[in-house]
Symmetry: C2
Subunit: 482 residues, 2 copies
């Protein structure tokens, strides 16, 4: 670990001038049998190696190819060429790994443009491309910023169970987890599957949310957050859905809905600000890519802002805070609704908002991130706190341009009697959630929290458009390769 | 979020003296109808509230019970009592949540000592006890320190898949993941289970390790680490095994075995140092608890060091680095082995080391953390790099006092031909791991990594002895409650 990464070398090269250093990496290009662009993954930038072929064995020069791995010792000098501050005059070159050149032809490592689909089929190699290097470095920075934000704000990180017997939202379809030999599933005397004989002695699934467990922890530790994988067994083959994705769920004792909205806004701004500050090179590359993508589109479909510009604007503005009822008024009175341009026309208060409505509010009406709150209780989950009006609950959704809902949350129902009534109305099993109800029996307190789908945020920050391109090994219907 | 936590108030009280503040929390004790010890989970320390009963409604005073939740406004004054710097003279008290007193009798919230077993059955409430508050705050600090260490050392955090078709170690029993209705599993024309009709179109399991996928990422990004849940469907009802646990797996391009050992040692010392620095109050509590536990034991079984002392010693000393062959010599010549005191006597080079041998080396022979390396190839996984001697592989295990193996890792076999031979010898399917082999075909590089079981480290740091007490909701055979 005493070895310096290329990022460190390029970032602080002055002390290294006219010293010999050793670097290791992969060849991105070898021009004119003289200039090697070497990359070690630490940054999108390559370091230029100058090879004087007279000083080296012909055999070595011949074997340096795109994607070869090299160890090079040489002198750091100021570069006369454009595009880099320094270069390394090679004194010693070792080829660490050759290429199987014929097989290389079929990989995404060969130096030409590959479609995102092909790159996805070679997810194990796409880390070595500029694009995916950038995306996954940004993903890492976002993840770290999330931990840092919560740590600075006195939250405790906690792990909620992945394998669970409970279905938090009563909604999403769940994957089953079993240790049964599927050819010989044991039956009880009634001929039913005998889950008592399964590993956990009961039917178990993969979690769809850690919220309910996080609530129990917030009732002791005050401020907690989870950051872990969650699962949906929904057969949705879209650019926005994954069967396995990562979710961040803070839960805060003593917070009300307004505190919760403040937390969500501060949180998003911190994370985006962190990336703007710490991922400049990768964002520059992604910004250029985004601009080129826009040029391919018909003018009316192009984004109004560049990628970096969009991120900078999000952290500058205060998010618009709009009640569901106000939003419905705006939508009812919109030209789009009156002219029948929405696929799902808004007819009355109580309607569930679709992505098209959310995007209208964010991208056309307010031209700003929007926080909607106080939704009709019928379209939200049982655990959201009933408002005084008896019709709405203290729910909130944060809507972002180009993405729609990026955060969903609420103040939680802390009153045992109200919660029980809600559970009965919505057919949620009280007995299964005995432990959840317990937290309302012994010193119950107002509390609130939300969920952020990590990959949605990464889409927003990188300008990528398919959610399969922002997680290393996407899990989708009929696809669990690697 | 503008509200200050009790930790913040106690930590920086001078500016607050003679000002009114509002705090919220749970009653830990209410002495003499006058002194409330209030806790909000941010710290193990309570804040003392002084209630002059003449100023309050009798009804309120009567309803303040252990575990009640309160909101209190009052003046911060210097305390004349022992044990605290300040106290709050209550001016306004609101009871946020009452207690169901009869049901309270059956919970771990009533003010008396509860066994760890009982606390485990009420995992949803144990966050509100001093002990588990401390344990889970320390767990959070350890987790953050892990991210911070890797971030400072230019690693990228990555998420490897949880649902997978591959079995990395070819060892651990895996949980199946399926979307089939187990009452109606589809069969193909041969009568076999038709996994093509399952959600992912193939048989899938829960991951036992993200290492192989992390290796592919290291071959592009250089330095990566995972930190996520892993699973073992082993029917082990012990104090050291969980069916679901969290693992940290760094993987570093260009690192050899020695670099890997350096990384592991620096990493552990950083994390333990962070906890010593940042969890002083919780460690003090755990240290006292540890000392009391030791007193209950017969003198010969007592730990030689206190908890904090042990942690401080670990970060002071350089870990002993000992080859497997040297370790076997030491064990063969030990009194214990000669007198037949080991349950599994060591007879010759090649023996797999058991926990008793590891603990002998660490606790008796070296009295220091020990790193063993260069193990016989037969007892280690296929992906570990074959040494020049043809008999050993570049594996390493870090052994800690009281715990045994806390980290296991290796330099990886980067030579395609050697790797393929190894896979054939060990019956690992080449076709299934085509993508893993690819990374050895196109610019293969030496690399190394390791795995740390998070809960083992938390046991070590907290002095707890049952692994079910260091994860919020443990998953073990016949147990997936909550």
């Amino acid at each position: 670990m005493s070895k310096k990464t290329i990022k460190e070398i390029l970032g602080d090269y002055k002390k290294l001038l006219h010293h010999d250093i050793t670097i290791q990496g992969w060849v991105r290009a070898f021009r004119s049998n003289r200039f090697i662009a070497l990359n070690d993954g630490s940054t999108i930038n390559n370091i230029q190696i100058v090879v004087d072929f007279e000083n080296f064995d012909e055999e070595i020069i011949k074997n340096i190819k795109t994607a070869s791995s090299l160890k090079i010792t040489g002198e750091v000098v100021e570069s006369e060429g454009k595009g880099q501050d320094i270069e390394i005059i090679a004194k010693k070159i070792t080829i660490l790994g050759d290429n199987f050149s014929e097989e290389m032809e079929k990989t995404v490592l060969q130096p030409k443009k590959h479609s995102l689909e092909v790159l996805r089929e070679q997810a194990h190699l796409r880390f070595r491309t500029n694009l995916f290097g950038a995306v996954f470095r940004v993903r890492s920075a976002v993840s770290f910023a999330i931990h840092q934000f919560f740590n600075q704000n006195h939250f405790f990180y906690m792990n909620t169970p992945i394998i669970t017997g409970a279905d938090a939202e009563g909604a999403g379809e769940m994957f089953g987890v079993t240790n049964f030999d599927l050819n010989q599933i044991p039956r009880d005397e009634n001929g039913d599957i005998d889950f008592a004989q399964d590993f956990f002695g009961k039917k178990t699934n993969l979690t769809v949310s850690g919220q309910l467990e996080a609530e129990t922890a917030a009732m002791g530790l005050g401020r907690v957050y989870t950051f872990g994988p969650t699962f949906r067994a929904e057969n949705s083959n879209t650019t926005r859905h994954l069967a396995e994705f990562w979710m961040v769920e803070p839960e805060v004792a003593f917070n009300n809905l307004e505190d919760n909205i403040d937390l969500a806004e501060n949180f998003l701004k911190y994370v985006i600000g962190y990336v703007l500050e710490n991922c400049k090179d990768d964002l520059k590359f992604l910004d250029q890519r985004f601009a080129e993508e826009q040029k391919q589109k018909p003018e009316k479909d192009r984004a109004k802002e560049g990628l970096i510009e969009k991120l900078e604007n999000v952290i500058k503005k205060r998010f618009m805070r709009v009640s569901y009822s106000e939003a419905i008024e705006i939508l009812l009175n919109s030209k789009e609704n009156k002219k029948g341009k929405f696929q799902f026309p808004i007819e009355e208060w109580g309607a569930d908002l679709q992505s098209e409505h959310e995007r209208y509010l964010v991208e056309k009406h307010f031209e700003s991130p929007v926080v909607l709150f106080d939704y009709p209780k019928e379209i939200k989950a049982f655990y959201m706190r009933l408002n005084e009006d008896g019709k709405t609950v203290a729910a909130m959704d944060v809507l972002f341009p180009g993405i729609g809902e990026i955060i969903g949350g609420s103040q939680r129902e802390e009153r045992l009697d109200v919660l029980k009534t809600k559970m009965q109305e919505m057919h949620v099993d009280e007995h299964e959630l005995w432990w959840y109800l317990d937290t309302r029996k012994f010193g119950s307190v107002p509390h609130a929290g939300f969920g952020l789908g990590l990959e949605r945020l990464i889409l927003f920050v990188t300008g990528m458009t398919n959610i399969r391109d922002v997680i290393p090994f996407p899990r989708t219907p009929k696809n669990a390769e690697f």
